[in-house]
Amino acid sequence: MLKYIFKRFLWSILTLWAVITVTFMIMHFIPGDPFAREGTMPEAVYKNLNEHYHLDQPLFIQYTRYLTSLIQFDFGPSLKSNTMTVNDFIKQGFPVSLHLGTQAILLAVVLGMILGVVAAYNRNKWQDYLSMILAIVGISVPSFIMATFLINFFAVKWGIFPVATWKSWAHTVLPTIALSMMPMAFIARLMRSSMLEVLSQDYMITAKAKGLKGKFILIHYAIKNAILPVVTVLGILTANLITGSFIIESIFGIPGIGELFVKGIFNRDYPVILGSTVFYSMILIFLIFIIDIAYTWLDPRIKVIGENN
């Protein structure tokens, strides 16, 4: 197992390096540079700025400089902010996005699984149709429409939840719901089809023939076997949610890191773009690794390669 973890770790480093290199190159090859837009800038200032941020040096030197600073977990300064580094941005925004994303993914998993299980157990009955209508709505309605809809009714008309700041837990309710709709719908559909497959298996009849209680069969036989595909997508879904959503964060006025990436691209703020990409990749790689480990624990048929007893 340790050997496997070590091997996976090395692969992760390699993947990260590839991500960094590709992002770095694409970023520098697209036309324009961070300070080019400000046309009124005197030539000398422009030159000084470029020199200050080492943008005048050959690409390869810039690249190796970036890599060496990254090894020390230094994402570099922001080109557009005089006081903040990329590390500061992440330190400030990530806890907020993490909080919101965790709530959203928990809601999505719990609700999505319940909907999927109920739909599968009542196949072609009204419970099934209702769940799947909810799922289709969740997948097809864009999050900005869902968000404005929620704000309009729950905040403006009925005044149940406050919005537009990040203060108390009540402020997190509506953005959590808006953020969780899509993954919830996705999980519900996945869970339903997976459950239907499991329900038709022979071992379900074995379980019933043993005289086991319905609830016991549901948990130990049906869900335990049906959950695997859901776990597979959980890594990517979680990574997406906890690294913040630009749209949801802008609409609800939440100071997360979702907008960091988008603003970085608009400003051609090289360290911000690279920093957020690397950060996102790191989280994704970490989560997928966790999921792989969880898999071997959930499904005994999957064994880590090289591990033999």
Binding site: D202, I205, T206, A209, K210, G211, K213, F216, L298, D299
Partner: protein
């Protein structure tokens, strides 16, 4: 001998898009205490449906029991509530399924799967249940039971899995075991071992067994009585010796003839019953075997025969054995 289970005129229908399929059409037979009864017949004749009906395992959404009684200790299982049925399933009546490769939960340890029924029905402690499971695995011939209990189904071979399934069926010491083609999915050498195992266990624990099979060799080897089914009906029943020495129903005769024999000459082709069973969506009015029967008479086309007693133990559903049947026609069957 005491009757443990008696099925009377059981009729089971399935709803399909094409209409009502009459899968079981008035089946009656009984199982005595400590007896192995074989349920034989070709695929689709209603053996498994009958067996699943006893445990009420048919999917409720598209099957229904049209009539009949399934008397277990003179209690009609068809009238028993689901809640009470749960206390009977696995506890008093248990089932061994056909395919050991798919009938075990792939994500649960073998030990857990064996003890979960025991813990539910007998209210024993976990350690006691594990001790019992270990004993059972030893009994069914699985070496190193302690180690094996902590393994998952995919770590077992087919024969070993079927042993586990048998151990699972035995764990609550049921009075009746229904074995639905327990050896069909296994290779021949393992088949013999498994059958011997069932026979030994039945002898040791004095349980009754309903063995569903289409292998007549198996029947001859371990069964006490035989019930032959055809197109959802019982066409003949009797002791093993009677059925093999003196098959009375033309279908049973056909079955016996179609078993390959050692003394067959090299260029003799194997006998087979011509035709195929009737569509149970629209079963015929008369005898279901009419269209394939070599001895068919006029009456067979119009009227379906009931079971008639040949002697106290053997019964057959064939007009040839009616007291009023023409003796000449009965005579013609002698040479078979």
């Amino acid at each position: 001998m005491k009757k443990l289970l008696e099925i009377k005129d059981l009729k089971v229908n399935f709803h399909t898009y094409l209409g009502e399929v009459q899968a079981v059409r008035g089946v009656s037979f009984h199982v005595n205490q400590g007896e192995i009864v074989a349920l034989v017949g070709e695929s689709g004749c209603g053996k498994s449906v009958t067996a699943k009906s006893i445990m009420k395992l048919l999917p409720t959404a598209f099957s229904h029991y049209k009539s009949g009684e399934i008397l277990y200790h003179s209690m009609d299982l068809l009238k028993v509530q689901e809640k009470e049925m749960e206390t009977i399933r696995g506890n008093e009546i248990s089932m061994i399924f056909q395919d050991p490769m798919t009938s075990l939960n792939p994500t649960s340890k073998i030990g857990e799967q064996i003890i979960e029924g025991l813990m539910k029905h007998k209210k024993v402690s976990k350690s006691e249940a594990y001790r019992k499971a270990k004993e059972l695995l030893e009994l069914v011939g699985i070496p190193q039971p302690e180690k094996r209990m902590n393994q998952y189904p995919h770590e077992f071979s087919g024969g070993m899995r079927q042993r586990v399934v048998i151990a699972m069926a035995l764990v609550c010491e049921p009075q009746l075991i229904i074995a639905d083609e327990p050896t069909t999915a296994l290779d021949v050498t393992i088949q013999a071992q498994i059958l011997k195992l069932i026979k030994d266990l039945q002898f040791k624990l004095n349980t009754s067994v309903i063995l569903i099979t289409h292998d007549l060799g198996v029947v001859a080897e371990i069964c006490d009585r035989v019930v032959v089914m055809y197109a959802g009906e019982v066409v003949e029943s009797g002791k093993v010796e009677e059925i093999f020495a003196n098959p009375s129903h033309p279908y049973t005769k056909g079955l016996m003839k179609s078993v390959p024999r050692l003394d067959m000459s090299r260029n003799e082709s194997l006998y087979s019953i011509v035709g195929s069973p009737p569509n149970l969506l629209h079963p015929p009015n008369g005898c279901a075997f009419y269209s394939r029967c070599e001895y068919a008479m006029k009456v067979c086309q119009k009227h379906s025969p009931n079971l008639m007693e040949i002697n106290t133990t053997q019964q057959t559903a064939c007009w040839l054995y009616h007291p009023m049947a023409n003796p000449v026609e009965k005579e013609s069957m002698g040479g078979m």
